[in-house]
Subunit: 205 residues, 2 copies
Amino acid sequence: MSNGRRLTARGRERRDELVAYATRRFAENGFHPTSVSDIVDGVGVGKGVFYWYFPSKDDLFLEILRDALLDLRRCQQAALADAEDPLQRIELGIRASLAWSADHREILKLVMFAWSEENFASALKKGRRVATADTARHVQDAIDEGLIPAGDADALATSIRGVTEELSRVHLVDGDRLDDTVVATAVRMCLGGLAASGADRAEIG
Amino acid sequence: MSNGRRLTARGRERRDELVAYATRRFAENGFHPTSVSDIVDGVGVGKGVFYWYFPSKDDLFLEILRDALLDLRRCQQAALADAEDPLQRIELGIRASLAWSADHREILKLVMFAWSEENFASALKKGRRVATADTARHVQDAIDEGLIPAGDADALATSIRGVTEELSRVHLVDGDRLDDTVVATAVRMCLGGLAASGADRAEIG
DNA sequence: CGAGCCCTTGACCACCCGGTCAAGGGTTTC
DNA sequence: GAAACCCTTGACCGGGTGGTCAAGGGCTCG
């Protein structure tokens, strides 16, 4: 149980070491194919060490997941703290998300996996609700200030996440760079989509 | 080995039954937590039946995945066959994707999982390259015809898929409906994003 | 110095997994 | 009718799984 236990400096180091190695292996190999024995062998310790720091393999995974979502959110909020214009905040949020993903590419795969099993997916859903609400607030602000046409702020926020995450996935999962073109495309799609009214497509048909 | 084997009508039925049941269980429970025994027990047959029709559990999963990607593509192409305007084709493709996802919600989870393990992910990547190319061609057409500003057609196509998939995920995985508002939002974001030039955000800052 | 706690070890456990296979029932075919 | 093939059964296998635990090392205090 990692809950109430007091850790020495050495203990904290060992724990971090396990988290880091497990994260890497989970991302490379998948969660289930990576056994607890793989992890402790990789770190070079006995199996009991794992269960000294974590109640179970599932709990470790949940911890990795929750910490990641938390850290991403912190980065986003820090990035847009100074901007006052809602659309500028959205753009800064997008850029922060992409930068964070580039620095934590392993996490992308873990998140994909987490969707596929209920006990992990529920943690994700909670995180997503929060993230969507964050963005949706700025979208609604932009609507209220007359900067963009009205619309479903939640669905718009979800779309924005869809763009940033899919671009991250495609360009980062295989080790590619996330170059400026891609970032510019993300911004173009999101801000352009927000700026459009649903009626625009009447022009097309 | 399902390869060269000749199946009677009864055989084909049994095989389909296994595929259908396995798909459902994989989506509900996850791939690894669903054992071959679970599947054959659920269908009410002996274990040997499974290995009569499929060489392995992994192969079954790959088959489900590939068939799904193929079917989705067929639906998309059928949907946009009549339209000539590139942007109209894109819109029809988006609507077809959303409709297909609504009719195959289990697949969404399987795809998420598939990303997390290399042997499955590689099948996905191949499918995605094709899907991206399909969309990117219409995007490029629209650029060439002067309907939208220039840009990275591949990244734009990827963004479109990001929007449609994320909206599908959020609104379908938990059994919600995919109502018209959401579809309209998807179309607004995608066509609006395409219509925007990257320079638009200069207005904002 | 010794008490007490943090940390580590690795053999061990019960369980279940994917996959095999010899045997036999049903259908089809000639 | 019988040969040939499709399909089904379920006991069985080797091996790996997540998790436990008694035992002990070593650091940190009083």
